[in-house]
Symmetry: T
Subunit: 148 residues, 12 copies
């Protein structure tokens, strides 16, 4: 963990690797690679380091969260479908001592009933939902500025 | 509505006039006047116009929303307790044709069960919850940058 | 209250002032002023007096209901979003001793789940839902003819 | 189907043949024959043709609905107890392409909890509840005047 | 209706014609004809007249109930599966002015969850459940002796 | 336990000692002593022995049930309010190996919602509800005649 | 029942006679007669006998099921709207001793909430849903091949 | 706020201005003015100052509560229908730092299901329900005597 | 029952004998004996007779209630944990013809979810909750003054 | 309470006196006396004192718990059916200041739905369920070893 | 993806590798290898290519689904226990643009309550449940023949 | 699998690798390595073999369970967050034929509502919850001693 530069971890949950090809009406036509590039650009502007990681495996994401303390100053997580039932992911976030922000590309509260409940939200700093890639940008900004 | 400068309306719902004196552990010690000043400062930086309005009355807030089209390019609303039951406020936001962002100072998903449900969220652009005054700043930024 | 001519009060609830501009697919393109004019025309045909009142404020509507006895022979109310949660409005209607009819422009039973329940319906004479302006016309007719 | 005169079908559901003798406090003392006569009188005034049919059998009512297109311009249906559970009746109404209006003699929203839900309402044009025989008269009027 | 001899109607609901061949473990090996014979024997002992009727059709059963007043002093009804959802049958029993007793061969409260609720029970005199043919015998006896 | 004569235990649950003075509209004006006398008369007619016991204490009733095997051929129980929540009473009845019949003076399915559910019913032979003292008489008869 | 050739009964529930004209977007444009012809063609290919029957009446369908044993080796049933509430139909299928397969033209699990629950499914051999006429073909094939 | 004499605020919620004329069977025949006079008499006996305020508007009541600190030593509130849904009123009471007591004229737990739940109760000192005007008198007494 | 002096029965439910030692943060440090003494002092001031009784047994409390008519003019009952499930206690209070008041030391509406529901409240005159010993004092006062 | 030797109280709830004769398939054939002997043997091995007590009465069990402090170092309780509804028992355990362990012979989570919820569990140290007599042995061991 | 020959992917979810050894009463004695061989035989008869894959890892199955487009013309999936909660799997199927069929060996609607709900079903073409290996064969056939 | 020495598998679910650093107030300060060492010490005392395995991946844990038969005599599993939703894990345990015991460090019944339900419990031998490392020790002991 660089003393002189903040670093953050961006975690993309299951199916986000399909971004740009999957349900474009809801998620937009940006691919995950393009989204990550935009995020890296934003990070550069803010002078912070950023690592991006996507996995379809709950276990992999939990491992990444466990490894984060000491390496990152904060986590931006889009838990995808895990948002709605993965108590294991929730416990992982609650178990490590670094701030996390939950983001969603779409407004999850304007979708199917079962998508309106997050088991993750109670253990993160805050939640940003509905602004497409901007959800991530705002999370990056708030993680960088909070607690300074 | 100024053609050359964007303008936004900030609506604070019931009891937010108590900010700084009420349940400081949850909402922080910033007063509403101070929060508004900070918001105006942010707006100035972004080169946008901002009006702030607080009311404890559902009808007043609805009237403000009805008057917004033609005057503002967007609405930032912290519906306070109305978040959880004011379908009239929801209908007002759905009935006018300008983007709105719902904000909350505290993480409403980490509080009492009845605070975890928003009847407003399905009709706004997105929701930002849990970052104190930063929730408003992020909303301002995203409203300004979206759809440009 | 005119002894020789019946008079009725039409109450329009929150957001009905947006009629004609709001969600035209659901509510039609008639403005509230036009609807009121049509209603006054119908009233004239029936030889009855009619007053129309719209408010976005629950308290205002309750005040109007409290003032109705002695002035009106009946109330036609479209409670708008208050249909679904305003027990105060319900108690106001139950508390005054004049017949009331609940009307809705759209068929509330063909819309979102939360719009299918009326807390008002159990205390009115009857409910008419789904016929656009005709919902009001029918209510006027039935109030005029009932109990003669 | 007469080109020059509109014709409508009135369907009375189960137990409505008991009208006038059954639970008079709720349904009034008018018999079904008397109600039908009144309806025919109203129809005559409006210059429309009217057929009335009562059955205690779900299948019979569905058959009548299936036969209606080409013979009638609209259906007035009091589904009686079928209101609350006959999805087959609902599907029959949704499956034929003529407007229908659901009527109830009593205000079903002021009765037992299980009577406050209609599986029929979402597929009809509108619902009129609580005005005794007037519920039917209003339905006749609105069917006749709508879409002219 | 014989002035000098009481007469009762026994109504068997859907699938009771299968008695003796259907789910013998639950309902026993007695056929419906045999059950009816036993019932007629019991009736003879008590000096009362008895008619037995079975139908798989809700409408038929309702028609029988509507015809009962003036012909019978009481009804014994085993509504079979209609017990759990036929509000139309319930309304028929509530609509005629003669006492009825609901019977069940098996103990419906010791079976599947959905069989433990009767929509019929609130409108009958009482319910007897779980004693095989004896459920009917007891109903016959109590109908005969009550209100003498 | 008499080899030559069947004997049964009648258990009256809490508040049944108030019979005749309590809520007479629901339970009738017969006192518990009078009810017991009538029951003893019925028993005598049938040539069976009968013991009656009333208690307001759940523990006492359970003790009586535990003592019943070897002394009685069956139990008639009116669990009173325990019907709705005493799983301990249920377990007692399920734990001893003699047939039991649950009786209720009033039709519990025509009363308050919370009285319509019996935790006892699933473990008894059958249930008789709604016939006043006759509920007990029928239970006595069916216990005596079953399994002969 | 032909010893040398298997025979099956196809039961179409309420409103399926409207096939081809009703909600074509969901059910396709094939008429019931055409569907039956296709099914007879498939049956011929498989060398089995097939009878098709449609009714809008619950009682009729139950009667057909009761008559099936001895005449048919299996039943293919599309219960239509009865899928969701006809416990009487369920009991009829459970009461006869021949295998049955439940079919649906549309994927009932992708439709309204109330269509996602089948009271029939627990008592049939299996369920096939969502493949249009193919749902029937597959059912025919599996009934023919199973238990050989 | 008088140093030498305690002062209290009595808040009457929506429809309480109808007292004496509305649903007299439930609320009694005392008018609001008479109730206030009785309360002022009680206050005089106790040597305390009392202000009474009624409003049908949620926003007005919230404003009164916000103004109370520094003026009053405690609040007696009968929230009327707001009891059951006004989270904004609850937040107002929780947001000011003076003790409050919730009162109800009728026993809300013996009325309709929806009246048995108070969203206000968790944030007040205590609740007194069911004693007519005495509910207020007791609240006055306990506010005056507590914490002395 | 003394003609010249009113007498009341105070019933303390289960675990109230632990008062002063149990969960002092919630219930205060006053012992049950001290509370009873304070109550007797209050009674003396009011010139009424008072008997206090505590039991951990539901049956004992029911017996006390049954014995109350003729001995006492009213009952003050703190049902403790029985508040939430003892329908037998409720029936006892409903079965005797003397006024009762339910009291709670703590504000049960500010505690665990399962403590916010009283099965007792619907059958008593009123309920007082949240004022420590003052809950009893107020109950005593209101019982003494009501119906004079 | 012996300073030199730990002593524990074993409480057996309702119907456990039937052990060995009741539902042997679930609870095993060991009688309560035999279970107690085994427990005393285990206690002797561990050098601790043990008292065993069984009651079918909620009040008795509460009294035993109230008497435990000063006499015992811990409580092992099998609440039997009280597990599922006795909030009074829960409050008793929460009200005394000694550790308790809840045990069950059978695995309550593999039985009827209503047996899967314990109102006791939240106030004890831990719960051991499903190991027959071994559930008690483990509880004894853990009470003895914990907090040493 | 072969232009001249269709190819399909068969996905077996968690625990299906235990087939033949696990709960044989429910799933049959066929091993997964044997099932796959049968499936390959069926595929050969139909002239299509087939790949079979089993995994106990949600992430692996999602990866397989993501890789399917371009390689396969359709997916047959038995989601095993994931059927009931894996929204991530659902999103994966919804996110790729090839038809899928959900299959189950056992009739999931005749098993435990929690197995009767599929979160997968709303996003697949159809569902086949209850026919053992035949469920797969039918799925293969329908995938091959549909949309030709 | 050693014939002469029993061997057991200890499975630690997601986030248990954080033991000692995560939410120490709930889980204690012992690390997973230290816990495993203690367990190995206990095993040595009992003369049994023990393997310990931790994974954050549901699939890995399922694989371990599938491999257990033939290698181990029993499984001790702390499913962590999977306790509450992993039906796949449940099916794995139900699918292999060796006894398993579910353990929890904390008393899951004294924590958040969603942690009080275990989908695993119905398929294991028993559950031990709330005793810290002792939960594992007790499980080891009971697995070793049962069925000898």
């Amino acid at each position: 963990m660089d003393r002189h530069r903040k670093s953050f971890l961006v975690l993309h949950g299951p199916n986000l690797n399909l971004l740009g090809s999957r349900e474009v009406g809801i998620y937009g036509s940006l691919s995950l690679a393009e989204l990550n590039n935009l995020l890296l650009g934003e990070a550069e502007k803010l002078g912070v380091k950023l690592d991006c990681y996507q996995s379809n495996s709950e276990g992999d994401l939990i491992d990444q969260i466990h490894d984060a303390p000491g390496k990152y100053h904060g986590i931006i997580i889009n838990p995808g479908a895990f948002t709605h039932y993965s108590i294991a992911l929730r416990d992982a976030l609650a178990g490590v001592n670094i701030p996390a922000v939950e983001v969603h590309l779409s407004n999850i509260y304007a979708r199917e009933e079962f998508r309106r409940h997050s088991v993750i939200a109670p253990v993160v700093r805050g939640q940003i939902s509905g602004f497409g890639p901007w959800s991530y940008f705002l999370a990056l900004r708030v993680l960088n500025d909070l607690d300074d």
